[in-house]
């Protein structure tokens, strides 16, 4: 018996069995308490609440919603707002992060220092504080609707949000959207073809310039094909506020702005460390085999820099999506505000609702880490 205990394998198995027993007992203890408490306090269980009428209004609804819709619909509205803020935030923080990261390595002393200062300031201020600051302090300084700031005649900014004209969905707008899609797809194929050609023949094809031309020419053609008929819905002051057109709420503006400002500092650092990690010898070697500066950047430096910069950047994307849950402090109707907030208050089924909310984030993070794994695999240095 004792000798068996000394055997590492046996001990390992024993230890695992004990862990499982402990874990099961703990979960069982919690589970039975919860069941007991739920029963005794008369809290409802199950997911029927998803079919019950929500009864409250929501300001920003990317998918159709009225007060008579269900809590299940509220969940979807919240989810789509979370995805929207994530998407917009990721795009802008990538752009800003890239710019700041490159400026951070600029050979201009002033610019370099300014970029470094920007990073040092904004990454060291809690994101919630930034959100509340932009929302409460900056919102306060915006004018009332009647005294809105005007840009380009038809764009208005006031303390209710940003209002701008929206083109009606007619044949012209649709054909332009379609043409943009075609342009993007053809650029992808063009790029593939050009790469192949370059590998086979060594001849270069100006993909970048051709691509830009396609992005410009296609929509212009489509504009005429579609009937050359733009009809804007222009916001106008009616009653309490502007109506018509497209509007962006101050909550969305404040939230996106702070998320972008904050996340960009981390992305900038990732970009910087990526570029710095490429050794000088690589650049010199590229130059010595006669690559132009642009070719060296495209074929030698960037592929190596990206390998280092992308994983932390993707992690920051995930952080950005998670941080968007802080919207609950300023009432932007994303999933935590709407579903874990308002719906939870109306329905009272905390366990189901918080579990569903967590599941959303877990799914997003699983997708992102799958993406990351795929990327790491693809980017692995192929040693020959």
């Amino acid at each position: 018996m004792m000798s068996a205990l000394r055997n590492q394998k046996v001990r390992g198995i024993l230890f695992q069995i004990l862990t499982v027993i402990g874990l099961v007992a703990f979960l069982w203890y919690i589970g039975s308490n919860t069941m007991h408490n739920i029963e005794q306090r008369g809290i409802k269980t199950g997911f029927e609440f998803l079919d019950s009428t929500a009864g409250f209004g929501i300001d920003e609804t990317p998918i159709a919603y009225t007060e008579t819709d269900t809590h299940g619909r509220v969940f979807l509205v919240g989810l789509s707002n979370t995805l929207i803020i994530g998407f917009v935030g990721i795009i802008f923080s990538t752009i800003l992060g890239l710019i700041i990261g490159v400026l951070r390595l600029s050979n201009n002393w002033l610019i370099r220092k300014m970029a470094a200062t920007y990073i040092d300031i904004f990454r060291n201020i809690p994101i919630l504080l930034q959100i509340l600051f932009w929302y409460n302090v900056v919102l306060k300084s915006l004018p009332v609707p009647k005294k809105s700031l005007e840009f380009a005649g038809d764009i208005f900014l006031n303390n209710r949000g940003l209002y701008f004209p929206q083109p009606d969905l007619n044949s012209t707008t649709i054909s332009i959207l379609v043409s943009l899609g075609i342009a993007i797809i053809s650029i992808i194929f063009l790029n593939r073809w050009a790469n192949k050609k370059q590998e086979n023949t060594g001849e270069d094809f100006p993909v970048f310039i051709t691509g830009i031309c396609m992005l410009i020419v296609f929509p212009i053609l489509a504009y005429f094909i579609g009937g050359a008929n733009f009809n804007f819905d222009i916001p106008a002051l009616k009653g309490f506020n502007y109506r018509g057109g497209k509007s962006i709420s101050p909550e969305f503006l404040a939230l996106t702005f702070s998320l972008v400002i904050y996340t960009a500092t981390f992305i900038a650092e990732a970009v910087r460390s990526g570029i710095e990690a490429v050794s000088k010898g690589q650049k010199e070697a590229a130059a010595s085999i006669g690559l132009t500066q642009f070719q060296a950047l495209k074929l030698v430096i960037l592929p190596q820099a990206i390998r280092i910069a992308i994983p932390p950047t993707i992690n920051q994307y995930l952080n950005l999506i998670k941080n968007s849950s802080l919207a609950t402090a300023i009432g932007y109707p994303e999933i935590v505000t709407l579903f874990s907030g308002t719906s939870l208050n109306q329905v009272g089924q905390a366990i189901e609702i918080i579990a569903m909310t967590m599941l959303v984030y877990l799914t997003i993070s699983l997708v992102v880490s799958a993406l990351l794994n795929w990327f790491n695999h693809k980017m692995k240095i192929k040693e020959r």
Partner: protein, 361 residues
Amino acid sequence: MAVYEQKAVKKAPSNSKGVIHWLKSNLFSTPLNVAMTLLGLAILFWIIPPFVQWAYTDANFSGETRSDCTGDGACWVFVKMKLDLFMYGFYPQEELWRLKSVLGLFVVQLFAFKFFKSIKHKFISFSIYLIIAFILINGGIFGLEIVPTDKWGGLMLTIVVAVVGIVFSFPIGIIVAFGRASNLPIIRSVCVTYIEFIRGVPLITILFMSSVILPLFFPEGITFDKLLRALIGITLFQAAYVAEIIRGGLQSISTGQYEAADAIGLSYWQKMLLVILPQALKVAIPNLVGAFISLFQDTTLVLIIGLFDLLAMVRITAADSTWLGMETEGYVFVTIVFWAFCYGMSRYSNKLEKQFNTNLK
């Protein structure tokens, strides 16, 4: 016969050190650079003078009431009058000496750190400090009146949450990291699940869970203080991040170290605690400081579940009817406080990183 003309004598190159040269090579080397410098200066000019004017030139510093706020700029009188609230929350006035002595003892503790050379002594003195600090803040023995946690607030609460979070998440994080690196499949998968779950969800949902669902997990009558619930949530959250960082440290240890420890007949725990962990921690320390910085920033989230941390105190004091319209000053003050803490810590972490880097070479 070819005629060679003598070329004009070139001027000596301008000083290759000097201010002018520095300006030229660093700010005005190319047209693009000139443009960027000018743009940079324009941005600075656009931001800094108005801020200085608001925060200093036009600001009010002296006085005691709202009516002393006469300038166009900031009114720092507000911050001055509310400083105790910002620092200590609603902690009773007559008990404030206790918090001040905790702060005083911290300075003593810093000296003790310089004095004690061995890690063990440092650890013991810090533990004693934490216990004394807890007794002083909470009360309950030695005739100290208990100060209920709903009176705790301000910067003191922020620090309490951050310190408790890091101190308790550390051992949990180490155990989970060991489990994660263990070759026992069940242990490993339990730890992986824990880490991935926590890291996959936002802190706010964990705080909601600990404030709304946690009470359901225990029989009626067992209740946790609101602060305690938040601390449990934050500790469990932080532990997952600490575990990942320590795992990174563990991975950097070569297998030779494990084998050597096995070869001299150390048990698993001896091997891990005496050989592997010290090396892994050394590698992990800069990242641990980084995790502490983000924990410090994350403490602000407790305001969403109704605790009065430093940021929450700004919102409360700004709603004080005798001091309306002062939230900008409050926010700027709190921003500076948070920034100073986080920036200080990140500098420290950079320093550590450099220190350890040179050691490795």
